[in-house]
Amino acid sequence: MGDRPRSARQLIMSDHAVAARDGTLFEAVGLAKEYDDGRVPALRGVNFRINRGEFVSIVGPSGCGKTTLLNMLGLLDTPTGGELRYAGAALSQVASPAAYRAREVGFIFQSFHLLPTFTIEENVQIPMFGLPWKRAERKARAVELLEAVGLSHRLGHLPVKLSGGERQRAAIARSLANRPAILLADEPTGNLDSKNAAHIMELLKRLQQEHEATLVLVTHDHEVARHASRLIRMKDGEILSDPANPAAPGP
């Protein structure tokens, strides 16, 4: 079961892209996004690179464009200008955004977004429907992941029966379901108290390292952002500072 996602992943990437995996994972060149026929700019031509295995925090106030950026990395949204490359290949050329999201990306949301009528174990299985796994394989993988996040005693519980911290742990387990190369976390501690937030951040860091995934986290909370190995600051749709790109304007 473990090899399938990796071989499937190669199907959506060019040889060049596969060759570039060990280096730059994402590269944005003049990336822009405008809403309402250009009247509302969300991103104003940002440039950055994110390397494989990095943990990058993007921090900034509400409306600075960080969630828009994260959605573009996950192909939930498309840019109106510039280019975004994934492992050397333009994301706009990806034939199936759904396959990209299923095989490459794991999402973690502020509001958890667990499906209310499914148990925790079933919620973790939901992304696996995008892969040709058998029922028993899906179940085994879900149990394994929920054990890894300390929820093995909650497998048959509905999300409503869980605390906020437990729900986010279940959502993290779900994000890892298909062994993604990238984890995209949007304010993952936004709905948690400080104690639970600290636990979640420790868990995320540990799992990111164990799974050798690239973690991109957006937050307005500097305390959360400092867990990352690299911190990109944004404001009004622009990058204010990026340690990997000294040319970016400083704060």
Binding site: A102, F109, I126
Partner: protein
């Protein structure tokens, strides 16, 4: 967890709404099953009656009403004289309110004709001759009227004695009152008039020859129609009208069902916009989301179909017990009708889900996640 479980979990999300929508389809399907079952029962009843009596051609003066108009009895002798006719006899049939029964079929049969032959006497006897003021009741008619041999029965202006109870070997025969033709003509005001001539052709006559005989009769007697026994129901204007009414009522009920399911599925899609956004973010293809909505809709149709067939069967059973229906027809709910009804319900479900499924596939995941 399987995809099928995901489908049923989606339906179970709003059990009352799913149940009520399913019930909406069920009522439409029940109406379809009941109406088509009734007309199929009527068709089967008439066909079986003609078959049991051994009638090959029916001559009547059907002009758009439910009952054929009466014509001169002497036509029978002219038809008998035609080449290719082995035997012909005249019948006067009326649907009348008899005593407390709201509607009964009464046959005035020519005494000594072959139409008496299939009546198996269960109790008592047949009339002694054409002059005796006597009736024999089909076994269902006896039940409906609450009569036994020796009782008196008032038909229109005449009083008759029930001399026998018979098994006519078909629903229509069992539900009928039978008496000699002259007696019935006398009390019903149709003296020397009949409304059916029943024709038998010689053994070995093929379909083409029978059809030619029908044409010959129609040419010889303008205004009368001669129809092969197998075509009697299909060419009956009354039956065609009843069938058209049953199909149009069913269609109306099904259109209401389609609109109900479509409304439910659209509401479901709008309510679950956020959930659909999550599924898209988690890598579900739009085609899989469409399949989910379509399958939920189809499952609702199937559920409604199964309940509808059960309700339709109960309705038919209840109708069969009513005096208005009893003795006229035996509702026919066979597997072919049940399967057809369920397939129609399934089609209703799929059809109703098409637009909501298309709407769900157009959702932008980022906007859906924002709520």
């Amino acid at each position: 967890m399987t995809f099928l479980e995901v489908i049923f979990r989606g339906l179970w999300r709003r059990p009352v709404r799913t149940g009520l929508t399913g019930l909406g389809i069920a009522i439409g399907i029940a109406a379809f099953v009941a109406l088509v079952g009734m007309s199929a029962g009527y068709e089967k009843g008439v066909t079986s009656q003609l078959d049991v009596i051994g009638i090959d051609v029916v001559v009547s003066n059907m002009q758009g009403g439910i009952m054929p108009k009466a014509f001169d009895e002497t036509v029978r002798d002219q038809v008998s004289a035609l080449p290719g006719v082995a035997a012909a006899n005249a019948t006067l049939m009326q649907m009348l309110s008899v005593e407390d029964a709201p509607m009964m079929v009464v046959y005035g049969r020519e005494w000594g004709s072959f139409t008496w032959d299939q009546l198996k006497v269960l109790e008592g006897r047949l009339p002694r001759d054409a002059a005796e003021p006597a009736v024999v009741l089909g076994k269902l008619a006896a039940e409906v009227l609450g009569k036994k041999t020796g009782d008196k029965l008032q038909i229109e202006t005449g009083e008759f004695e029930v001399v026998g109870i018979v098994d006519g070997q078909s629903v229509l025969e069992n539900g009928a009152i039978n008496l000699a033709l002259p007696r019935f003509q006398e009390v019903s005001g149709y003296e020397d008039r009949v409304n059916f001539i029943n024709v038998r052709v010689p053994p070995g006559t093929d379909e083409t020859q029978t059809a030619a005989l029908c044409r010959q009769i129609e040419e010889a007697f303008p205004g009368l129609r001669a129809v092969k026994a197998g075509d009697v129901v299909g060419t009956s204007q009354g039956f065609q009208m009843a069938q058209a009414m049953s199909w149009s009522t069913s269609l109306l009920a099904l259109v209401v069902g389609v609109l109900g399911v479509m409304n439910t599925m659209l509401m479901s899609v709008f309510e679950r916009k956020h959930e659909i956004g999550v599924l898209l973010a988690l890598g579900w293809k739009r085609s899989r989301i469409m399949a989910l909505i379509l399958c939920e809709s189809a499952a609702m149709g199937l559920l409604g179909g199964v309940i509808g067939v059960a309700l339709g069967a109960l309705t038919l059973a209840a109708l069969e017990m009513t005096p208005m229906v009893r003795g006229f027809l035996e509702p026919d709910l066979g597997w072919p009708l049940a399967v057809r009804a369920i397939l129609i319900a399934l089609a209703v479900g799929v059809l109703s889900g098409l637009y909501p499924a298309w709407r769900s596939s157009r959702l932008s995941p980022s906007l859906a996640l924002q709520g």
